[in-house]
């Protein structure tokens, strides 16, 4: 009994192996030395740990490569191919994908014998291509599969032109003629194209001007009316229907409405003038099937003769599409156009969340580490915080919806925005509530990393500070916190990365499919924290699962994902840079 107790029971296996291995090596130079000494050198563990790292790195790189490649090629212009099928049907468009497959026996049997023999010679495999044919307004479809055995051949028509439009998706066709005021001024593809180049920029400029008028000038006027209406309603709620205040507010409202109506009429006139000027210019296109379609120049976002583009033209087109993607609003139920509101919403929400979570988390961990006396209570709190990090994020979403939106927001509406009820102001999902919900979600990350950083500050420094007569708070403020700052920043970085990529809770507390109004703009009070917002993560979900034109939306999913990864990386780099600066500052202050 006593001898077994004397055995060093909890000696780890590896040192014992080393001892035994070296002993046996001394005793016998032969035998199974190889295996033992391998263990002794620790190489299996090296391989295991190294292998773990390699698997992780390979997975990350593979995922990133997939996203980058798929995301980057989305905007690269492809040639426009014209297919003529055996039954003389013509399809013209961009080839988006191809597929090698085994045709079904039923399909196979209906084919001519020579084609059947060809396929049989190929072990039953056939090839087909998915062609984006566009022209949804004429054909009600976006895509067609073209089987190689069904096609007579393919050509690259010289004047095949891709037109990206404000609505109805892409148009593929040949320029036929150009109309000004209904008169034909050009009737060959080349001449029509030259006219298009000549007039398109100025027409689009007028179109943007019109959009500016609609957005800013009309917006300003209707806000006046809205304001007066709310004042009238407040007066009604506060003083009753027969009061002098209500009558005054009503008169005021009528006056403002009359005034605004005059302004409206004036702006409308300007808009109509711009529209009329733009409507003068029409491009007539002919589809590959011979249908004619007249397109107003203002409707055309971008057009290019795809098969005539050189490398320079392709690059400039590629960049212009990226620019539109980054800077413009979405069109066509989000499947086209840009994602600027989503970028803005993601960044604004992440920043507001960081501003909320970091001070709160630092204060909490300061108390836990510096003031509180260790005991069961504090351990319980720590365990609770760590467990909070494991709660599914959707639960935070439900809490945010129930508590922030309905309870807090509903109360705010009752007290401050009574006039606009039943339309909720704060009592529904919005930027503020989303940021608060995510702040709760990321709180454990900040608390844990701040606590670690505080614990790493040597006790001797605190004692030195106390020795000089500093109080507890002075010590924390001057000695401990500056030293712990890089650790706090690490927590903030982790929190931001987690928050920016989170989608599930946001779906409940404010991220929506379409909200072109930015939460920050030039209208008083500038930050509209109650507004719903668009989020890149939610945009990915929406494009991937809810888009009507799923095939066309798929590449956009990758592009949006790429953008989201870039934004998270950028935010992280910024925080890392900040941390490095803080570290440097701290090091220099030592001397």
């Amino acid at each position: 009994m006593s001898t077994t107790l004397k055995e060093p029971q909890n000696t780890p296996a590896l040192p014992r192996e080393i001892i035994r291995g070296s002993m046996s090596a001394r005793k016998k130079a032969r035998g199974n030395r190889g295996g033992r000494s391998l263990l002794a050198k620790g190489e299996p563990m090296l391989w295991l740990t190294g292998g773990g790292l390699v698997v992780a790195v390979v997975m990350i790189i593979a995922l990133l490569t997939l996203v980058i490649i798929q995301g980057a090629v989305t905007f690269w212009p492809k040639p426009v191919v014209q297919f003529t099928l055996k039954d003389n049907t013509i399809y013209m468009g961009e080839v988006t994908r191809d597929d090698t497959y085994k045709p079904e026996p039923g399909v196979l049997n209906s084919l001519p014998a020579d084609v059947q023999a060809d396929i049989a010679a190929n072990e039953g495999w056939a090839h087909r291509e998915l062609v984006r044919t566009g022209n949804f307004d004429l054909t009600n479809t976006h895509f067609h599969w073209v089987e190689d055995f069904n096609s007579q051949g393919q050509t690259l028509p010289k004047w095949a032109t891709v037109i990206e439009r404000n609505s109805w998706g892409r148009f593929y066709g040949m320029p036929k003629s150009f109309l000004i005021d209904g008169k034909v001024v050009a009737d060959t593809p080349q001449a029509a194209w030259a006219e298009y180049i000549k007039y398109h920029d100025e027409v689009r400029e007028r179109w943007h001007e019109r959009r500016g008028l609609e957005k800013h000038d009309i917006g300003r006027e209707s806000r006046k009316v809205d304001h007066a209406r709310l004042e009238m309603k407040s007066a009604l709620l506060e003083h009753g229907k027969d009061s002098a205040e209500y009558r005054e507010a009503q008169a005021n409202y009528d006056a403002i409405e009359a005034q605004v109506n005059v302004a409206y009429a004036k702006i409308r006139e300007e808009i109509n003038a711009l529209n009329a000027e733009n409507d003068r210019y029409q491009l007539v296109m002919e589809t590959a099937q011979g249908q004619e379609k007249q397109l107003g120049l203002a409707e055309i976002v971008r057009a290019y003769p795809a098969n005539q583009l050189g490398l320079g033209g392709k690059i400039s087109l590629y960049l212009s599409r990226w620019w539109e993607f980054l800077s413009d609003e979405p069109r066509e139920a989000n499947s086209e156009g840009g994602v600027f509101p989503a970028i803005f919403g993601t960044v604004a929400m992440t920043l507001i969340m960081s501003v909320l979570v970091v001070p709160f988390g630092v204060l909490a961990s300061l108390y836990l580490r510096e003031y509180a006396k260790a005991g069961p209570m504090i351990s319980a709190v720590r365990i609770a915080i760590n467990n909070l990090a494991g709660v599914p994020s959707i639960v935070f979403g439900v809490f945010g919806l129930g508590f922030f939106c309905y309870v807090v927001g509903g109360t705010i509406d009752e007290v401050f925005f009574k006039a606009s009820l039943p339309n909720p102001t704060f009592g529904t999902g919005g930027l503020l509530w989303a940021a608060l919900t995510l702040a709760l979600l990321t709180l454990p990350v900040v608390i844990v990393s701040t606590e670690e950083a505080l614990a790493a500050v040597p006790g001797s420094m605190r004692e030195g500070s106390y020795g000089c007569g500093a109080s507890k708070w002075q010590t924390i403020r001057r000695i401990v916190l500056p030293r712990a700052m890089p650790g706090v920043m690490t927590g903030a970085i982790l929190a931001m990365a987690r928050g920016a990529g989170e989608v599930a809770p946001l779906m409940l507390v404010g991220a929506v499919k379409l909200a072109p109004e930015l939460p920050i703009d030039g209208v008083y009070p500038f930050l509209h924290a109650q507004r719903s917002f668009m989020h890149l993560g939610f945009h990915v979900y929406d494009l991937g699962f809810q888009s009507q034109n799923a095939e066309a939306a798929k590449p956009m999913v990758f592009t949006t994902t790429l953008l989201l990864i870039c934004i998270v990386a950028f935010l992280n780099l910024f925080a890392i840079w900040l941390r490095a600066r803080l570290r440097r500052k701290f090091v220099s202050s030592q001397f």
Partner: protein, 326 residues
């Protein structure tokens, strides 16, 4: 269904231009043109059907070009989310892909004292999709029931698990059927259950998807898949099969002419639910938005989204039900 049939039967105006090579749906020329008025401001907040999500977005985008200062927020997570948010006033429009249930009507009435008003905005065909390579022509309702449901209320003796049991031969005969469907908050889920499964329960093996487009993409990537979704979500990778109501009945393909004639067994209206106090006047924002939906422009957006527009008579009736007469 019966409501749909009766309205369609009452309105015989079939508005279809079927050019030989381009089956093209066009809007009723008798629909009114929408002309903007002044004084429309506020917030359009729509919560409801996922099937109508894109259509609501298109309507909102179109409406915004006329009233740039109107704010728009659209959420689409399923028809069942529409009545609760109308009741709690967190939304002012509730798009739904099915009629309200009596339970929902009661809850609404308890809060406001009247029932919610539903306007038929467009026509959808709920299509049963299979992979593009699947040679199947069509299925009868009892067959569909035996494929999707474990209760088999429509009377098939045994369940259908393999494509062979649905009439395919060769390599397809032994291939297992893989099922795709919607989640239970969806109106499409409820509609399909009620009309194609005789209110029977779905099988546990149905893969529930978060969106209509996800069902179509599931079927597109699964050679032996079958699923149901709105016709607007059809892509080149799937095939909408023909359906018949009875075993051995005439198979009706999912094309617009059969939606208008009412012969296609799963055609339905897509509804817009609003909180309208009978006899009152809607405030300008909701009134104008509804007018926009029932105008030529609004119905053109319906075509854009792949659904079928309603006729001028249905539009007139719908507008009259919320006291809009001009």
């Amino acid at each position: 269904m019966s409501k749909f049939r009766s309205i369609v039967a009452a309105v015989c105006a079939v508005v279809l231009m079927a050019a030989p090579a381009f089956a093209q749906v066009s809007v009723d020329p008798n629909l009114p043109d929408y002309t903007p008025v002044s004084g429309v401001v506020g917030n359009i907040k729509s919560v409801g059907s996922d099937t109508m999500n894109n259509m609501m977005t298109l309507w909102a985008e179109g409406f915004k070009t006329m009233y740039p200062n109107v704010q728009v927020e659209i959420e689409g997570k399923g028809s069942s989310t529409a009545p609760p948010s109308l009741i709690s006033a967190t939304s002012n429009f509730g798009p739904m892909s099915r009629a309200t249930k009596s339970k929902e009507d009661d809850a609404f009435e308890k809060r406001f004292g009247y029932k919610p008003t539903q306007l038929p905005t467009s026509i959808d065909m709920l299509a049963v999709y299979v992979n593009k390579d699947n040679p199947i022509e069509g299925l009868s309702f009892p067959q569909v029931d035996a494929i999707f449901s474990k209760s088999r209320k429509l009377g098939m003796a045994s369940s259908i698990d393999k494509w062979g049991q649905a009439g395919l031969s060769g390599a397809w005969g032994n291939a297992p059927i893989s099922l795709y469907g919607r989640n239970s908050a969806s109106g499409t889920y409820g509609y399909f259950k009620k009309h194609a499964l005789g209110k029977g329960d779905y099988r546990d093996s149905v893969k529930e998807q978060p969106g209509s487009s996800a069902v179509v993409q599931g079927v597109a990537s699964d050679k032996y898949g079958i699923g149901y979704s709105g016709i607007g979500y059809k892509t080149a990778d799937v095939k909408a099969i023909a359906l018949s109501k009875e075993e051995g009945g005439k198979l009706i393909p999912a094309t617009p002419e059969y939606a208008y004639s009412g012969d296609y067994p799963l055609s339905r209206f897509l509804w817009l639910t609003v909180n309208y106090k009978p006899g009152s006047q809607l405030e300008p924002l909701r009134k104008e938005f509804i007018k926009y939906i029932f105008s030529k422009q609004g119905q053109l957006d319906v075509v854009k989204d792949g659904y079928y527009p309603i006729t001028a008579q249905i539009a007139k009736k719908a507008l009259a039900s919320v006291n809009i007469h001009d």
